[in-house]
């Protein structure tokens, strides 16, 4: 495939802009989609359990977070999986664009925490888009702009949500959790040795000022304040349908740039249809908060609704929804419209796929298994407790070391980035560096900071049945000999408590250790390989091993 950017005209001046109604969709300078990844939470809630309390549908499941998971840990899992699928070091990434309705800190270091945990350089750019489930697509648009403007060559876009819905709301029965990552690159960056497997070519946006789901500033939970019929007929279906139509129809009058670019993208290899023609395969991944509306929209667009199975298996994942729904379809050549919706805004992209996108087959396997047995089923009360909606009476006991203290400033980066201090003399890796100015092996002081492996073998362990709050017993603590050297003692997963053994292989995943007065504290935990944890967690963690 020749360079799709060549000959495009992304910089049409303001004077030449088409009238607003014709700017719903337009072709920008395409970006390559080089890899994807998925992150799913470890628990499932049976809707029957929810219905036992509130009534409603008894069929289906939602993917939901354990107490130590949130939007950041899911985003980490997805981003790590995408980097691994691409075979790229996180150090090569120029920026992190993270779209999540609600980052862990309403204001604060959410972006730097995630970027550090992903191993990205501290000079990398990017942003957090938030505020509604359209944040995922907002983040991708922003990353695309940065790549097109040559501010970034390789951009990691992560979309994630783990919203806390109001108890007893209709939203609660629809709200799942998950994350999807797209690694995108400029044509120059993507050229390398392999042609890019897919191009993101077209975007479209349409909004109206309608109130549906929202969360007021002081409220911990998301509320819904809308009439489902009104939402369906006047807001969601019209907006999403129009965006989809503009993406699907390359002959749309407002889409002149798209046609021009399409002719470029297909001129090189002669294997694709002539410019302007519809491919044989046209898929639609559509965010579907209600779970019932996307099928009809896709049908009218003439496409297959590829997001139906993931929506059914894990629920509405907000900012990640349309991206999660698309992952499976990225294994098949063809065109794919990805349309998100949130806060009165529909927006979407068209992806032209020529070969399977790395990470997509693995993601499809994870999503395909999402509704099957093997992961932890939580009770409704367990879920409420994990979400902080059901607390023990009385003040919680504080953790002991305030998250804003100097100890955290010293220790956070080496924890999130998982660093050790390697002795230049004897090779011993001492962890963590901040408490080891000298080598634990030989006492030498010539040390260099290194990234530690994210998998290893259990040297010994315990299962602690007397964990102080906020930790929940029984919880393993595991001494892990890391692949590539170094040793750590980390918390494990209560799901592993009954099965852990010396010699087991484990992988490290980022988890939220505590939420203290609203402040999230993150660190790694050691999970047993293939031990009833969701495949997503396993994939995500093994993905990190390449960074050692």
């Amino acid at each position: 495939m020749s360079d799709p950017a060549q000959g495009t005209r992304p910089g049409a001046g303001p004077d030449e802009a088409p009238p607003p109604e014709e700017r719903v969709a337009h072709r920008a300078q395409p970006v390559a989609l080089v890899a994807t990844g998925v992150g799913l939470p470890s628990c499932r809630l049976r809707l029957a359990d929810l219905a036992a309390t509130w009534g409603g549908s008894t069929k289906g499941e939602l993917a939901v977070c354990d107490a130590d998971e949130d939007t950041l840990t899911l985003a980490w899992a997805a981003g790590t999986a995408a980097l691994r699928a691409a075979g790229l070091s996180p150090r090569e990434v120029d920026g992190l664009w993270w779209g999540t309705s609600r980052p862990p800190f309403a204001e604060g270091p959410s972006h730097s925490f995630l970027a550090t945990a992903l191993g990205l350089p501290s000079t990398c750019g990017g942003l957090i888009a938030s505020g509604s489930p359209s944040a995922g697509m907002d983040a991708l648009f922003a990353a695309w702009d940065a790549v097109a403007a040559s501010h970034a060559g390789l951009a990691l876009v992560v979309t994630s949500d783990a919203l806390v819905p109001g108890t007893g709301t209709a939203t609660e029965a629809a709200t799942g959790a998950g994350a999807a990552a797209f690694l995108i690159a400029s044509s120059g960056r993507a050229a390398g040795t392999n042609p890019p497997p897919a191009w993101i070519t077209t975007r479209a946006t349409l909004f109206m000022p309608a109130l549906d789901r929202y969360r007021a500033d002081a409220s911990p939970a998301t509320s819904d304040a809308y009439d489902p019929r009104l939402f369906r007929e006047e807001v969601f279906v019209p907006l999403v349908s129009e965006v989809g139509r503009r993406l699907a129809d390359p002959s749309h009058p407002g889409d002149a740039l798209s046609r021009a670019a399409s002719s470029v993208t297909t001129s090189g290899d002669g294997q694709r249809e002539a410019a302007g023609q519809r491919p044989d395969t046209f898929g639609c991944s559509i965010a579907d908060p209600d779970g019932k509306l996307a099928a009809g929209i896709a049908r009218r667009l003439g496409g297959d609704l590829v997001s139906a199975s993931s929506r059914q298996a894990i629920g509405d994942t907000g900012a990640a929804s349309a991206f999660l729904g698309a992952l499976g379809a990225l294994s098949r050549p063809g065109e794919l419209a990805v349309i998100s919706y949130g806060g009165g805004r529909a927006s979407g992209i068209k992806i032209e796929i020529s070969q399977p996108v790395p990470g997509s087959p693995e993601a499809a396997a994870v999503l395909g298994a999402a509704g099957e047995s093997g992961r932890q089923v939580t009770s409704y009360t367990g879920l409420l407790r994990a979400r902080g909606q059901l607390d023990a009476t009385g003040d919680p006991v504080a953790m002991g070391v305030p998250p804003g203290s100097a100890a955290f400033v010293r220790g956070n980066e080496e924890m999130l980035a998982l660093q050790g201090a390697r002795c230049r003399e004897c090779g011993t890796i001492s962890t963590p560096p901040s408490v080891h100015p000298t080598c634990t092996g030989c006492g030498g002081s010539a040390l260099e900071t290194v990234a530690l492996g994210r998998s290893g073998v259990v040297e010994t362990f315990v299962v602690n049945h007397t964990m102080p709050s906020p930790f929940q017993a029984p919880l393993p603590l595991v001494v892990v000999d890391l692949d590539g050297g170094g040793r750590l003692m980390l918390q494990g997963s209560s799901h592993d408590a009954g099965a852990l053994a010396i010699g087991d292989r484990v992988h490290l995943v980022l988890r939220r250790y505590a939420l203290e007065r609203g402040v999230a504290v993150y660190g790694y935990k050691a999970l047993r390989d293939g031990s009833g944890m969701p495949p997503g967690a396993t994939l995500a963690a093994s993905g990190a091993s390449g960074t050692a």
Binding site: V397, M399, G400, V401, P403, S405, A407, F408, G411, N412, M415, S430, T431, P432, S434, V435, T440, E459, T460, F461, V462, V463, N464, H465, T466, M467, P468, S469, F471, P474, L475, L477, V479, V480, R487, L488, M489, L490, Q491, A497, I502, Y513, A514, V521, Y522, G523
Partner: protein
């Protein structure tokens, strides 16, 4: 030849337990009175010219102000020199070592070594180590006290076939000894079945594998060996001691079937005293958990590495065994008021060597006793003191 420059002339303690009715200061005064009363030729309290006080967890348990002036004021010796020693679980035994060196240096004539710890005033949850993360704010989270030793049990079982029954045998033995010690926190027998059926605390350790949190105080009066007979006809001499450190964190351990700090401290104490493990008549060792005693008796050279569990089941360390261990009931039954623990162990060793231990008196053939502590976050420090009645 043994060092023997310093002698114990009086040793006493308060009954260990949940002493809600006694303050830190009252416990200290009680232990000092007991030690003074034990000096058989008599001593005036004002003859004490320096105090070394061991309190380990003052701040964690709410006594933020514990310092060098706390104890002299409480025991009627305000004005006397006083220094606090904190060295984790061996605080008491290290205070004794420091006091012995103060006497041996000739600077002080009569030194009171006193260990005091108030642990029950705060709930167990508030006192758990997990809240006091050290070194790094996130690593080692959830590391309650049993976590510091349970990984050794897991590995010891894996490598040597040590069983839960072998661990239980330690608890059974030490509870039996505790029944014979009027100063013990717990004075009830337990069976192997009770241990194995007790609630899991930190797998593979169960409730009865763990020592309690205990209030207590213990005191020892030492003087130059050459002056000891002014105070007693039965002086017990400090034959030698050793201190050693190890990396504190569990993930830094070179082994999970032994505690190198203990091995090294014992080597130094044996070397200083010229007394070897086969010359020891009885030992008070650090049994904060059942597995710890098994590690201790191996690391101290009493039994072969890996055989500690079987030796316990075989009775090697019982009151009638080849080398009785923890005749006082140990930390498991007598209790573990941290700063007081080492001092109280030395009290027991003194009483045993003077053959004053009543129903739990063991046969003294060589005239030597060994006292041992190991602790810190991850057994990072160990102290071994060896006492002898031979000069």
């Amino acid at each position: 030849m043994a060092w023997n420059r310093v002698a114990v002339v009086g040793a006493g303690l308060v009954k260990f337990g949940e002493l809600f009715e006694q303050s830190y200061e009252q416990m200290a005064a009680g232990a000092f009175s007991a030690a003074v009363a034990h000096v058989d030729k008599g001593i005036e309290p004002r003859q004490v010219d320096a105090v070394v006080v061991a309190t380990q967890r003052g701040s964690l348990w709410g006594q933020e102000g514990i310092g060098g002036n706390t104890v002299p004021s409480a025991i009627g010796l305000s004005g006397v020199a006083c220094t606090r020693v904190e060295n984790a679980c061996p605080s008491g035994s290290d205070a004794f070592r420091v006091g012995a060196m103060m006497v041996a240096s000739g600077v002080h004539d009569v030194v009171l070594v006193i260990g005091v710890e108030k642990m029950r005033d705060k709930s167990a949850q508030e006192g758990l180590l997990a809240r006091a993360a050290s070194g790094h704010p996130i690593y080692n989270r959830g590391e309650t006290a049993p976590v510091l030793f349970a990984p050794f049990a897991t590995r010891h079982m894996h490598e040597f076939g040590t069983t839960p029954e072998m661990l239980a045998a330690v608890a059974v033995k030490n509870h039996h000894n505790g029944c014979l010690d009027p100063y013990a926190h717990f004075r009830n027998e337990v069976t192997v079945e009770q241990v194995l059926e007790s609630p899991p605390v930190c797998h593979p350790l169960r409730l009865l594998d763990c020592c309690p949190q205990t209030d207590g105080a213990a005191a020892i009066i030492i003087t130059a060996a050459d002056h000891a007979t002014r105070f007693t006809d039965k002086p017990v001499f400090v034959a030698g001691f050793g201190v050693a450190t190890d990396h504190p964190a569990l993930h830094e351990k070179s082994t999970f079937v032994g505690l190198p700090a203990t091995t090294e401290a014992a080597k130094r104490a044996y070397g200083m005293s010229g007394i070897g493990p086969s010359d020891i008549d009885m030992a008070e060792v650090h049994d904060c958990f059942t597995i710890t005693e098994i590690l201790d008796i191996e690391d101290l050279g009493f039994v072969e590495k890996g055989k500690g569990g079987q030796a316990t089941i075989d009775g090697t360390t019982s009151l009638e065994g080849r080398l009785p261990v923890n005749t006082s009931g140990g930390l498991l039954a007598k209790g573990h008021p941290i700063g007081a623990t080492g001092v109280a162990q030395l009290v027991e060793c003194t009483w045993q060597l003077r053959e004053e231990a009543g129903e739990r008196q063991v046969e003294i053939r060589h005239g030597n006793a060994l006292q041992h502590n190991v602790g810190g976050r991850g057994s990072g420090v160990s102290v071994v003191n060896i006492l002898t009645r031979n000069r």
